[in-house]
Symmetry: C2
């Protein structure tokens, strides 16, 4: 009996995190009220605080679980890929899928609601972020050693992240160019 209740609660909690992620992405953290979130899952606003101790904790969980998912996808994407160039393509594709595919609200929230996190929460996220960047650094370093990128690994990584993350502002799934196509254009731009 207690087990069942735990599972139900975990599901409701997941519902809340998903709904919050979507609302945070669409309206921003500050413009989203706990009443909005509760409403989205058919709950009373006070009940939110049975699952989370504050609104900010929801934001933290959205970012944390999102990054953990992104890390998993990254690992999967690199499975069995050998050359540095193909690794970079795989990283780009995985990154864009996390960013652009329906239901992936985590990363945009991570990018745009950073300032709404307390400093303690920011520190927890930075740690995961560093892990996420590590695969990029390794791959870019290998390309650098091959002479395939002209500038430093750090600057290249920052330019790549900028170009890819900005796609969230303009990418339209209804147009001809699909997500893998965007990744391919980025690849030919950054690697020669």
């Amino acid at each position: 009996m207690a087990k069942v209740k735990t599972h139900e609660e975990a599901n409701r909690r997941t519902d809340l995190v998903r709904a919050a992620a979507r609302l945070f992405r669409e309206k921003g953290f500050e413009r989203t009220t706990v009443r909005d979130i509760a409403n989205a899952v058919g709950m009373q606003s006070g009940s939110i605080f049975y699952y989370f101790k504050s609104k900010e904790e929801i934001l933290l969980v959205v970012m944390e679980e999102g990054l953990l998912l992104a890390l998993q996808d990254q690992e999967t994407a690199l499975q069995g890929v050998n050359t540095a160039r193909e690794k970079l393509r795989a990283l780009m594709r995985a990154h864009l899928k996390t960013l652009l595919e329906r239901g992936s609200d985590f990363i945009p929230v991570l990018l745009y609601e950073w300032k709404s996190l307390s400093e303690e929460s920011q520190a927890r996220i930075v740690n995961l972020r560093d892990r996420y960047e590590q695969s990029w650094n390794e791959t870019l370093q290998a390309l650098k050693d091959e002479g395939a990128i002209p500038t430093s690994v750090r600057i290249t990584r920052l330019f790549v992240f900028g170009a890819l993350n900005w796609t969230a502002q303009w990418y339209d799934p209804n147009l001809r160019l699909d997500i893998d196509g965007v990744a391919d254009r980025a690849l030919e731009l950054f690697v020669r």
Copy 2:
């Protein structure tokens, strides 16, 4: 007498816009209160509404005046520059200066507080934004005609904007690399 008062009022209004731009950049639009803005210029919160009809109007003015300044700087930067490659370098430098130099809070606000504008206000900004992008399109098209960029003008412009705008997240004026240096790295990346 009336003239003098008008000038003083214009100055106070400018003070408010500047203070608001800085606060919007640092804390975000929603987390900045009219009391914060009034306080920053030594005014009572109610007095704000002698100068602006709403908080959102302040945001609109910040973005609008910022874009007009950016357009002026862009024009100046292109004076007497002849080759397409040098034009692109000038555009990149001007863009990064607007983005990164102290006191230039407009563009970050423009980039990150877009969703806080009403649709009517967004329409007014889009118009200016299109004008700003026009010089980029012309220059990139010239480079495309020379065979100096591998992908379409639109995609290249979006990747360039992404890479450059993202610098606001990581650029540190205390490090070795100065703003023109960032522009040069971007140039060698995007133009071959």
